[in-house]
């Protein structure tokens, strides 16, 4: 029993990750080997053909998609953290007229299903801002979500006030207190929010699928949808693209696992 249990857990865990291992191994197979039956596990003649074929193809420029995704997810995360931190600080520490109304309205939108925003935001992004088929449409509108403000406000409220008061007594103004005292104390929370925002944006699917059209403007997720909708699906190419779309987020997850898991277990953000 004592030996069996770890073995069973190990086997189950291996089975659990097997689709991902299979994706990785298939991406190094030839077109023919990728779809042979019975499937081979280890590529008999490992090749980078699939990667070479898709990385710079004009209709499916996967490398370009990779850069697009990096760019949008990074800028999106910065935008979320910057705007949410400022707003959350005001809501956590400053007294002003209308504060309860502002906070109430922001929090109540946490319960509004995002589907209600899709059609009108398409019009706003398309007609008012002319952002259709542009990465700006992926970076900016989703940064308006209430989660970041809510999350950071909770964190700021837990910070001891003494340090801020001492800084005020030393003659610092609001901005200096926020920038030099509060932000440095909040690094873990800011990192968690940045990370979750990066992941969410990197994996955003419905919106990029409909808002981006040109091959060179797509993100990886929207691009994957194009690749798999092709008339004759090439699984070797699809798996190579899937690997490219997975590696950055998996790496980030491995490096910053603690922040991601703690962020989720503390507050809960579902995709």
């Amino acid at each position: 029993m004592k030996v069996l249990r770890p073995a069973a857990l190990g086997l189950l865990t291996l089975l659990f990750v097997s689709p991902l291992l299979f994706m990785l191994l298939t991406s190094f197979k030839t077109e023919r080997e990728a779809v042979q039956t019975p499937p081979s596990l280890i590529p008999s003649e490992p090749t980078l053909q699939a990667y070479e074929r898709i990385l710079n193809a004009s209709d499916t420029p996967v490398f370009r998609w990779f850069l697009n995704s990096m760019f949008t997810a990074t800028l999106h995360a910065l935008l979320v953290v910057a705007t949410a931190a400022l707003a959350a600080y005001a809501l956590a520490r400053m007294d002003f007229r209308g504060k309860n109304v502002v906070f109430g309205v922001i929090v109540s939108t946490l319960f509004v299903p995002p589907v209600i925003l899709v059609i009108p935001n398409y019009m706003i992004v398309g007609e008012w801002f002319q952002w259709l088929d542009s990465l700006t449409a992926i970076i900016v509108p989703t940064a308006a979500g209430a989660f970041g403000v809510f999350f950071l406000r909770q964190f700021f409220l837990q910070l001891p006030q003494e340090l801020e008061e001492a800084a005020f007594l030393d003659g610092a103004n609001r901005w200096q207190v926020f920038f030099r005292v509060v932000l440095p104390l909040s690094k873990p929370a800011l990192a968690t929010l940045a990370l979750l925002s990066f992941l969410t944006n990197w994996n955003d699917f419905l919106w990029p699928v409909y808002v981006l059209f040109s091959p060179e403007n797509k993100t990886l997720q929207a691009g994957l949808a194009t690749l798999q909708a092709a008339n004759s699906v090439r699984y070797d190419l699809l798996m190579a693209a899937a690997v490219i779309a997975s590696v950055p987020v998996l790496l980030l997850f491995v490096i910053a696992q603690r922040y991601v898991i703690e962020g989720v277990s503390r507050s809960g953000v579902k995709g």
């Binding site: 865990t13 659990f16 990750v17 689709p19 991902l20 299979f22 994706m23 499937p39 910057a82 705007t83 400022l86 707003a87 600080y89 005001a90 400053m94 007294d95 007229r97 502002v102 309205v105 319960f111 299903p113 589907v115 209600i116 925003l117 899709v118 059609i119 009108p120 935001n121 398409y122 019009m123 706003i124 398309g126 509108p141 989703t142 940064a143 308006a144 979500g145 209430a146 609001r174 994996n203 955003d204 699917f205 419905l206 409909y210 994957l224 798999q228 699809l238 693209a241 899937a242 779309a245 998996l250 980030l252 997850f253 696992q257 991601v260 898991i261 989720v264 277990s265 809960g268 579902k270």
Partner: protein, 301 residues
């Protein structure tokens, strides 16, 4: 007179301004604007967008309209998926969390592995599983065949196999997320309670029923709520894996709205549909909320 409150007012609004600009433009205005769009015969491509009152809603609600059956079929698909996936998305993650809650070497690695699929996007998850589930060259059918079971199941284009596939993949994809929340809940249960149960001679199962489950009530309510909402909003799995097949059986409500509005550009109709779906989701949330409040109130009394 520049009173301190006034100055603080100004500073506060300056801190809020960047976020509020985003919030007003991409959340508040769209809520109202969407309602406005739903009252028009609105096509993105056409200059004329005549006001038609409640016609879009009426057309979605009257059985003799051509829009009635596609819309309600998609609502039904979302409902089927929700009913089928939520119990599994509660039980399996809870089981995983219970395993993780035990002390063993490599626990953090195992926890990370079970969480890992969640950090992948639905597009990656969808294409990987589309491959594994392929009727002819997929690994699953091959494995079933090797075990002497039926080996030509059309996982992505027949019923009920497609629902099994969509639910199974979703469980694989998101179980780590719910498990991590359950695990945090488990770790908040005071160890003394288990020791007390042991002293009283409770079996493991009794301890689970009388200590673990009550201790997890709040967490369970939260996880149930977000899981139901997430499942009712399912889009990517169907979009990537089945494209709604067979027929439009697995096309979910969100997929209907996206295709009707952003592909066929019948935005008035799609906006009306998204309002109906939103009201349904809000009623559902209220119902769940009421259930959990009643139950916890009843048991503490």
């Amino acid at each position: 007179m520049a009173s301190p409150t006034r100055r603080s007012d100004l500073a506060a609004w300056l801190f809020l301004a960047p976020y509020l600009a985003l919030f007003v433009t991409f959340v508040l205005i769209p809520i109202v604007y969407g309602l406005w769009i739903s009252l028009h015969s609105w096509d993105f491509m056409l200059p004329d967008k005549p006001f038609i009152g409640l016609d879009n809603y009426i057309s979605l609600m009257s059985p003799d309209s051509v829009n009635f059956s596609p819309f309600w079929q998609s609502m039904q698909a979302s409902a089927i998926f929700t009913v089928a996936s939520v119990p599994l998305l509660l039980v399996v993650p809870l089981a995983v969390a219970l395993v993780m809650n035990a002390n063993f070497r490599g626990r953090n690695v195992v926890r990370a592995i079970y969480f890992a699929p969640y950090v992948l996007g639905v597009a990656v998850v969808g294409v990987v599983w589309r491959f594994v589930l392929d009727t002819n060259v997929g690994a699953l059918n091959w494995l079933l065949g090797a075990l002497g079971l039926p080996d030509s199941i059309a996982w992505l284009s027949s019923l009920p196999a497609a629902w099994v596939a969509l639910v199974g993949v979703t469980v694989w994809w998101t179980l780590g997320f719910n498990a991590v929340i359950f695990l945090a809940g488990l770790q908040d249960i005071p160890k003394e309670l288990y020791e007390a149960a042991k002293v009283d001679g409770a079996s493991k199962w009794q301890a689970f029923r009388n200590v673990t489950l009550p201790g997890l009530r709040q967490v369970t309510a939260f996880v149930t709520m977000i899981t139901i909402i997430a499942s009712a909003n399912m889009f990517g799995q169907s979009y990537v894996m089945t494209s709604g097949a067979p027929g439009q059986e697995t096309r979910t409500a969100i997929m209907y709205i996206a295709q009707d509005g952003l592909q066929n550009f019948r935005m008035g109709q799609a906006a009306a549909a998204s309002w109906i779906l939103t009201l349904a989701l809000m009623l559902l949330s209220l119902a769940i909320f009421a259930v959990f409040r009643d139950r916890s109130g009843g048991e503490t009394a």
